[in-house]
Symmetry: C2
Subunit: 242 residues, 2 copies
């Protein structure tokens, strides 16, 4: 299994993985499937669908509301699990839409549980990664509740940078980001019009540029300060558990 596999990179950041762990992880990556951008791969209310490990491309999970609005809960990037919770809960409570063309490995729940039983370190790593994902959803919630549009946008863009760095797809200088301002609006709970204005403001403040599918960070430190970004869970070098 190549070391530039995003899942391996991510889990490796939490737990030092043995050859056996890597082999087990490799076995999970069977049944590779491809999906077109814009065609949902899971629908709200759908029962007993599969879980996936995202290998290439971006997807978003969102909910539609009776009043017509939609709220994007989270974006998934390579190395992330898709629909783990829905599998446990047996019914999907949200939609999943590929933002770009996507490649993902289907994971059968029993395979995953078997893998956990044989290689407990792997289970630890996956739980760790899942906790981190959940922590990010919580941070998103906090932003929607108590940060104004500018802080919120800055924070979200920084958080993206953090998770992309973890899988080797970004640096403190920036990263490729295939999202439209409309999607950002639905994630940040703002109108697309206002997202546009906020991005302009960030640009004019010399903090960050988001243009043509690329986020470029001009002043990381000032951005962190503006956003009130907590770098605690990003600041470690090498695995936390040796």
């Amino acid at each position: 299994m190549p070391l530039n596999n995003p899942l391996v990179r991510k889990l490796g950041a939490f737990v030092a993985l043995s050859d056996e762990d890597l082999a087990t992880l490799d076995r999970l990556h069977q049944r590779r499937r491809k999906f077109k951008a814009g065609v949902d791969l899971v629908y709200q209310g759908q029962a007993d669908q599969a879980a996936y490990i995202l290998a290439k491309g971006w997807v978003c999970s969102y909910k539609l509301l009776p009043n017509g609005g939609r709220q994007i809960i989270d974006f998934q990037v390579p190395g992330d699990f898709l629909g783990l919770r829905s599998v446990l809960f047996r019914t999907a409570d949200h939609n999943i839409e590929p933002v770009t063309p996507v490649e993902a490995s289907e994971v059968v729940l029993t395979d995953l549980l078997d893998a956990f039983a044989t290689t407990p370190r792997l289970a630890t790593a996956v739980l760790w990664a899942a906790s981190r994902d959940e922590a990010m959803v919580v941070e998103h919630l906090v932003g929607l509740g108590r940060r104004d549009a500018l802080e919120r946008t800055a924070h979200y863009l920084l958080e993206f940078g953090a998770r992309l760095m973890l899988v080797g797809l970004g640096t403190k200088e920036g990263y490729a980001c295939p999202l439209s301002q409309y999607m950002f609006a639905d994630a940040l709970g703002l109108s697309a019009v206002h997202v546009n204005r906020v991005l302009r403001q960030l640009r004019e403040m010399g903090l960050l540029t988001f243009q043509r599918g690329r986020v470029t960070i001009h002043d990381f430190d000032r951005l962190v300060e503006l956003a009130g970004f907590d770098m605690a869970y990003l600041d470690h070098e090498g695995p936390l558990l040796k």
Copy 2:
């Protein structure tokens, strides 16, 4: 173990529990501890603290922001786990504050994992419950992003009703709710002033009254409609897994 134990009731709603499961569950309920209202039992950044099963009283988990605001992420009611994610992640990323005087059983992580290993049905039930909790946080996020104050408040109050019914502490007619309007404000991302106005509006619309620690629902159906509340995961009678 008495059948009115809230955790047993909650898990029993997901999975039919055997005597052995119940006995294992009972063993987890050792080291019962009491906490005073208003004195945080976990702080942001605190390392290696315990997890708890809440037996009596209400607590809330919240985050403080650099700009002085606070966002309540979730309230926990009897039968809920406290700080499971923080334990996995090794460091608490949020505070936990008892809203009322609280009784909770300390749970050591290894005990819980042992219990899972010996009684897999129990593990399923706990995972199920955890998924449901996560789904509720997601629903909260959606509310903050895309529901106006009235829908949001109505939805939140209904969701509370749902989870309290699950542990036998509420009905469609109402429930005891020891939260101040200030706390509601911090949970709903509103000002306390506005929460007050919204509650008045709900009262004047003849939908619901929230006074002196009690939520009384006057018109359940119209409330569900106003809030766009999805009753799917509430609508089952008896355990999903026999």
